[in-house]
């Protein structure tokens, strides 16, 4: 917590904006999950007292200017190359805390190779993966994670498997890679899920300090603008449409796969072949 807010009427401040967030107003659309995730990340960094040793990497995507909001050293990465950039940073500064903050287009489309290989090498950093099932920044095109039938500006009739492939459950795949230590899926659309997500971030930073290897936290998030919904509608849509395909929960803990997760993606039923 910031500590700058005065008590009111003798009441104590129990939540305030963390000092690790700058004063700059965020540009995100109203209700966008990016803001919540920013806030939680910075909250944890403040609480853990690691502001002076944390370096963030945010590639192109709606969060491209995260550096305007996160009050820490940051690098902006080319589209898809966040994990490569983070590898460069972490390998020369192994004692710092490094995280990437990537969208689904970035991590699971153009950056697939970099993502897979960083995780396979077990790069000792945290990947925060914002899965909003769309290219928010460029105006709502299909993302690799767009679910089947989802209408986007490049799938005006809805995503269809034959041309555009299956929604890509890359988190399930990353959990299989031997380099990852902690892989988990969250959301930030309710107070409870925000609390859980915060715990996950804390854990991941702790594991990084213990040099356990790659941690990845997927956040199933919204994009009210891209989805053409109100924030409340979009949060409902997360629960109704995204969760069945991207169920929240841990996929890998302490370097071991969590058994009960509905893996493999191939077995999920929503995917309709349209050959």
């Amino acid at each position: 917590m910031n500590g700058t807010q005065e008590p009111i009427n003798g009441m104590e401040v129990v939540w305030e904006k963390p000092s690790t967030l700058t004063e700059t107003r965020m540009h995100y659309c109203p209700g966008c999950g990016h803001g919540v995730v920013h806030k939680v990340l910075m909250d944890v960094i403040e609480e853990m007292g690691i502001q002076d040793k944390t370096i963030g990497v945010a590639p192109v995507g709606c969060s491209v200017i995260a550096y305007n909001y996160m009050n820490i050293d940051m690098q902006e990465a080319a589209h898809g190359r966040a994990t490569a950039v983070a590898t460069g940073v972490k390998r020369v500064l192994p004692d710092k805390i490094v995280f990437t903050y990537q969208g689904d287009g970035d991590l699971a489309a153009i950056g697939t190779a970099e993502t897979m290989h960083a995780c396979n090498r077990g790069e000792n950093f945290l990947i925060v993966f914002i899965n909003n099932g769309i290219y928010g920044m460029t105006g709502g095109q299909m993302a690799p994670t767009s679910i089947v039938g989802m209408k986007t500006s490049t799938t005006p009739e809805g995503r269809e498997v034959h041309t555009q492939g299956h929604p890509f459950k890359i988190t399930e795949i990353i959990a299989m890679l031997p380099g990852t230590y902690y892989v988990t899926r969250h959301s930030v659309h309710t107070p409870t899920t925000v609390r859980h997500f915060k715990k996950a971030v804390e854990k991941a930073f702790k594991y990084q300090q213990e040099k356990k290897g790659t941690c990845l936290i997927e956040v199933v998030s919204n994009c009210p603008s891209g989805w053409k919904m109100t924030p409340l509608q979009s949060n409902k849509w997360i629960e109704e449409k995204m969760f069945p395909f991207y169920p929240p929960g841990d996929l890998k803990v302490d370097g071991k796969l969590v058994e009960k997760k509905p893996i493999p993606p191939a077995a999920t039923t929503e995917i309709k072949e349209s050959k």
Partner: protein
């Protein structure tokens, strides 16, 4: 370290990198430069460097971005197709003003081409293969000794200007062996502090940000103006070239890298035949020695550009000459190295055209 060693160009560059205090190397194998990563994977790792063979050249250049942004001395190397894959990353690095070293051991292109030596990547190197207005500082060694020397120089220039430096050498320079002496160079003394690097935001400074994004055109133009001013500085301070036998020259060869070595032989033979020919060897391909070209154009009757490509540097020479005298070209492509004899023949052709009288100066040769 004054021991004389016999080394391959690739290995000499790798050894120089270690001695220059290079902190990290990220790369991907490709002929004819794999010896760089192989040497570093052995010697570099043993001597404390971070040396990583990574998933691709695209990943490698972006790791260079990350490590350079974190304040490290960092390099990568590749050959033509691999360098093409790095163009987006290089444009980012140039814009974010990150110091780093890149080595291109140029092979015959385009496409997959051949692995034989070539200078076909001249344009890509000096005009900017990536998008936008930027420049790499481009150094062209012509010997194994220079393969080592320009690694030191490259790192120093990169730090000084916060600009990526490219060593452009053809495959032969990577593969051939010559004597090499590694200079006394204390990285600790030479490495400068990088207060802009992302090493963790301490209480006494605002966050450091590495970025090439500037949303407002006005800001982006400012960045560009700043870059252009820096390039003007570089053009003022860092032009490097070698002159051989130019004092009394009536004809001039212009060539870099291995071609320049061939041209030295041409001069030996030609001078035996009484032909007064000299050589201008650009060492820095960017910044280019336009002024020296212009000055020599006032002195000589004609210029023969010799390259292992279709005549790419001809344009820069002509920009320097500015119509004053004829500029001819002789070159080979696809990995073939021009012979001194054939080069001499081309020189004589040029002489035939120019000897009669100086008034024939208006004749401008297009490149082959």
């Amino acid at each position: 370290m004054s021991e004389v060693l016999l080394m391959e160009g690739n290995e000499a560059a790798a050894e120089a990198a270690i001695l220059a205090g290079c902190d990290a190397y990220f790369g991907y194998p490709i002929t004819p430069q794999s010896e760089v990563i192989e040497y570093l994977a052995d010697q570099g790792r043993k001597r404390g460097m971070v040396v990583m063979q990574v998933e691709s050249e695209v990943a490698a250049i972006n790791m260079v971005y990350g490590a350079a942004g974190a304040g490290a001395r960092v390099m990568t190397s590749s050959s033509s197709p691999g360098i093409s894959l790095m163009q987006e990353g290089l444009s980012y690095i140039a814009c974010a003003e990150l110091p780093c070293l890149l080595i291109n051991i140029n092979r015959g292109g385009p496409g997959l081409g051949t692995i034989q030596p070539s200078q076909g990547d001249y344009f890509q190197s000096v005009k900017g293969g990536g998008h936008g207005d930027y420049h790499l500082i481009v150094l062209a060694p012509a010997s194994v000794q220079e393969m080592a020397d320009y690694v030191y120089l490259g790192f120093d220039l990169a730090d000084k200007y916060r600009n990526p430096v490219l060593i452009l050498a053809d495959g032969a320079l990577g593969q051939m062996m010559e004597k090499v002496i590694f200079p006394d160079y204390d990285p600790k003394q030479r490495k400068i502090s990088k207060p802009w690097a992302t090493t963790g935001k301490t209480a006494n400074r605002p966050p450091n940000v590495i970025t090439s994004l500037h949303l407002q055109s006005e800001d982006m133009e400012k960045i560009n103006i700043h870059l252009q001013e820096k390039y003007r500085q570089i053009e003022k301070n860092e032009v490097r070239y070698e002159l051989i036998s130019t004092d009394d020259a009536e004809y001039l060869l212009v060539a870099y890298g291995l071609s320049a070595r061939i041209c030295q032989r041409v001069i030996e033979i030609a001078r035996q035949q009484g032909i007064k020919v000299g050589l201008l060897r650009p060492i820095s391909l960017y910044p280019y020695p336009y002024e020296m070209v212009s000055k020599l154009a006032d002195q000589v009757r004609g210029i023969l550009v010799v390259e292992m490509n279709a005549g790419q540097m001809v344009e820069d020479v002509r920009l320097g000459v500015n119509g004053k005298i004829p500029v001819d070209f002789y070159g080979r492509m696809g990995g073939i190295i021009p012979t001194p004899e054939d080069t001499l023949t081309s020189l004589k052709k040029l002489m035939n055209k120019t000897q009669p009288k100086k008034s024939s100066e208006k004749l401008i040769k297009e490149k082959v």
